[in-house]
């Protein structure tokens, strides 16, 4: 548990508003949860009024609805369809363009863009997902310079989950619901009939610096205990469980399990799970040119292993069947990711379950394979 009593502070809704304004004054582009088109979306926010006050969500396989809460909680919901990767590893990123055609052609790399980001309301599973993408995109011999530039400047205001969503299973994946590392400031929302209040902890000099600009007071022992109890409550009410023991071995010895065909009968290969997944990182590139072919550019964009083109090689695609594509996604996420990056690729956020149009449930698929594992 990470709420050290000596540094914990109490922040009111007004204090949070001051915090958001202080970040913006400090030159940050603040993005955080807001209600948009019937979901909790991550968008640019200016002040506390932009946050989803008094909302919660109802989530299950292929199902998501916003519901009114009977209080004014600002973080009384689980994660929605957006994740922070859309800001740190954006859906489209120009990589370079040419200047001058023919003999004078030169290649200009795209410079880093935009003001530094302040991510508001990052959950424990999402912090883990960011850490995983750090390993993927910055590890090895070649780091991605665009991602590195964004990450170096990013301020993170984390939120401990006090509500567990219907498809959440971060506890199974050892990723939450309380934040442990990778943030500047962290909030735990206290239950209240009145205005929202938060127990706040700071983890970095950047976090402490911004606190100097806003009003807060030391949190009391009982407030800290109440915050801790709320996070524990959410840990005990996960909507899903993943039977996570020895998952890589289980899946890799069952590559021909009949369940892959059964799930392929339901799977639409739409790629929604890969788009909402906070760790899926696959991309493709697109080249374009002006009509004379003198100015050309290359753009990287998100791609999905569910598309038939993903494995296209002269003559055809390697993974023709939906069975093979679903198997690739699930075994990569839960098994081969360990070989490649030293951890699971799943943080238990449940988005792939909620946003699957036919409600395919990754925890159910693993359970089905485990139940009939020849061993």
């Amino acid at each position: 548990m990470s709420l050290p009593p000596h540094s914990a502070q109490l922040l009111t809704s007004e204090g949070l508003d001051q915090l958001l304004r202080a970040l913006r004054r400090g030159g940050y582009r603040a993005v955080g949860p807001t209600v948009r088109e019937g979901v909790i979306a991550y968008e640019d926010i200016d002040c506390v009024e932009d946050l989803p006050r008094g909302w919660t969500d109802e989530q299950s396989g292929g199902h998501y609805r916003l519901r009114r809460r009977d209080d004014d909680a600002l973080f009384g919901y689980a994660v929605g369809p957006h994740s922070w990767k859309q800001f740190l590893h954006p859906p489209r990123q120009r990589l370079w363009r040419t200047r001058g055609g023919g003999d004078a052609v030169q290649i200009e790399r795209e410079p880093p863009d935009g003001p530094p980001l302040a991510l508001i309301g990052v959950r424990a599973c999402e912090l883990k997902a960011v850490a995983i993408q750090d390993t993927v995109l910055l590890g090895g011999a070649y780091g991605d310079p665009h991602y590195r530039a964004r990450r170096a400047d990013t301020f993170i205001l984390a939120v401990n989950c006090t509500v567990a969503g219907g498809t959440c299973f971060c506890v199974s994946m050892d990723c939450g619901p309380n934040v442990a590392t990778g943030f500047d400031l962290a909030l735990t929302e206290l239950a209240a009939a009145g205005p929202p209040a938060f127990v706040l902890q700071s983890a970095t000099p950047a976090g402490r610096k911004v606190l100097e600009e806003i009003s807060h007071r030391p949190a009391t022992e009982s407030e800290i205990a109440a915050a801790r109890a709320r996070v524990q409550h959410s840990a005990q009410h996960m909507g899903r469980q993943m039977p996570a023991q020895n998952l890589p071995q289980l899946l890799l010895r069952n590559l021909e399990h009949p369940r892959w065909s059964e799930v392929a009968d339901r799977c639409l290969a739409c790629g929604n799970c890969t788009m909402v997944c906070p760790t899926c990182f696959c991309t493709s590139v697109e080249d374009s040119s002006d009509l004379r072919g003198q100015q050309t550019s290359r753009t990287r964009r998100w791609d999905s292993c569910f598309t038939i083109d993903f494995t296209y090689l002269h003559g055809g695609s390697v993974r023709q069947s939906t069975r093979a594509r679903y198997r690739q996604w699930l075994t990569h996420k839960l098994a081969t990711w360990h070989q490649q990056f030293g951890s699971s690729g799943c943080v238990g956020c449940g988005r792939c379950i909620t946003w699957c149009p036919v409600g395919i449930d990754i925890t159910e698929e693993v359970s089905a394979i485990r139940a009939s594992d020849p061993g």
């Binding site: 370079w96 090895g140 070649y142 310079p145 050309t296 093979a324 690739q328």
Partner: protein, 278 residues
């Protein structure tokens, strides 16, 4: 390894020096590297080549590693990008990123018999290894190239093959799938040539490049002839959009073919190659 300062996704400009037809729809481009210090390459590695405004594809080096300032690629025009690349004439600009991937294990070849098995365009990625072996001929045992292609018209590097045949201790056997007179050579799959090759299986290194099904059968046949899996290397091919293990396209089980390959030892491939659509 430490992170490199430059962006690995941004290419540099190359100029085509010459272009030669090497078979139906197959062209070899020789390019001059404009870099002050050409990065050099290991036999078996590949570059990501860009036809401006069209796209980028991975293409193996087919030239001599001892001449790093001259970048040579042998390309079959099969898609939009490869077709555009093969249309580039002398002086035309293209862009390159690389070299990427693993090379053939040339240091392991020292003192051993070397069997190279090529299928179709798979001869091109093996040619840098052959250049290296033949340049230090005394450093190796018997060298055998078994090369299978579709038809006599599609035999690559024909004049070079004829000159290599004349070298002592070098055996070259070519077979085709289909042939009409005046072809007097072998007809059939390349694996059928393996019993003709003379090598000591206990001190042999085998390098295989070609269609996946051909590589599987060739590796199995060499295994049956007594060559250990640890002495057999294959060069795999997958869709690639980055070359640095980051776009995800080339995954083969837990391997990124661009980074962990394209040259991979057979003992790591035997099981995954048996899984369909992996």
């Amino acid at each position: 390894m430490h992170a490199r300062a430059t962006d690995p996704m941004v290419p540099r400009v190359l100029r085509v020096r010459s272009r030669r037809r090497d078979g139906p729809q197959v062209w070899t481009l020789q390019c001059d590297d404009g870099a002050n210090e050409p990065p050099g390459f290991a036999a078996g590695q590949f570059n990501m080549l860009t036809a401006f405004g069209v796209g980028e594809v991975p293409i193996s080096f087919s030239g001599d590693p001892a001449r790093p300032q001259r970048i040579v690629h042998t390309i079959r025009a099969v898609g939009a990008v490869s077709s555009a690349l093969t249309r580039l004439g002398a002086g035309a600009a293209l862009a390159v990123r690389g070299p990427f991937g693993t090379g053939w294990p040339m240091s392991e070849a020292a003192g051993r018999d070397v069997v190279l098995v090529a299928g179709g365009l798979g001869l091109a990625p093996l040619r840098p290894a052959l250049y290296q072996l033949l340049a230090q001929r005394a450093g190796y045992g018997r060298i055998t190239l078994l090369y299978g292609t579709r038809s006599p018209q599609e035999i690559l590097f024909r004049r070079e093959i004829d000159s290599w045949r004349k070298l002592t201790g070098v055996m070259i056997e070519v077979t085709v799938d289909h042939a009409m007179p005046p072809w007097h050579g072998h007809v059939g799959v390349v694996t059928a040539l393996i019993p003709r090759a003379r090598f000591d299986p206990r001190r042999t290194l085998a390098l295989i490049c070609g269609p996946e099904i051909m590589m599987r059968f060739a590796a199995e046949a060499l295994g049956a002839a007594g060559v250990a899996s640890e002495a057999i290397y294959l060069s795999l091919e997958r869709s690639m959009k980055c070359g640095i293990g980051r776009c995800g396209h080339c995954q083969f089980g837990g391997l990124f073919i661009c980074r962990d390959g394209p040259v991979i030892r057979y003992d790591r491939l035997r099981e995954p190659l048996r899984v369909r659509e992996l």
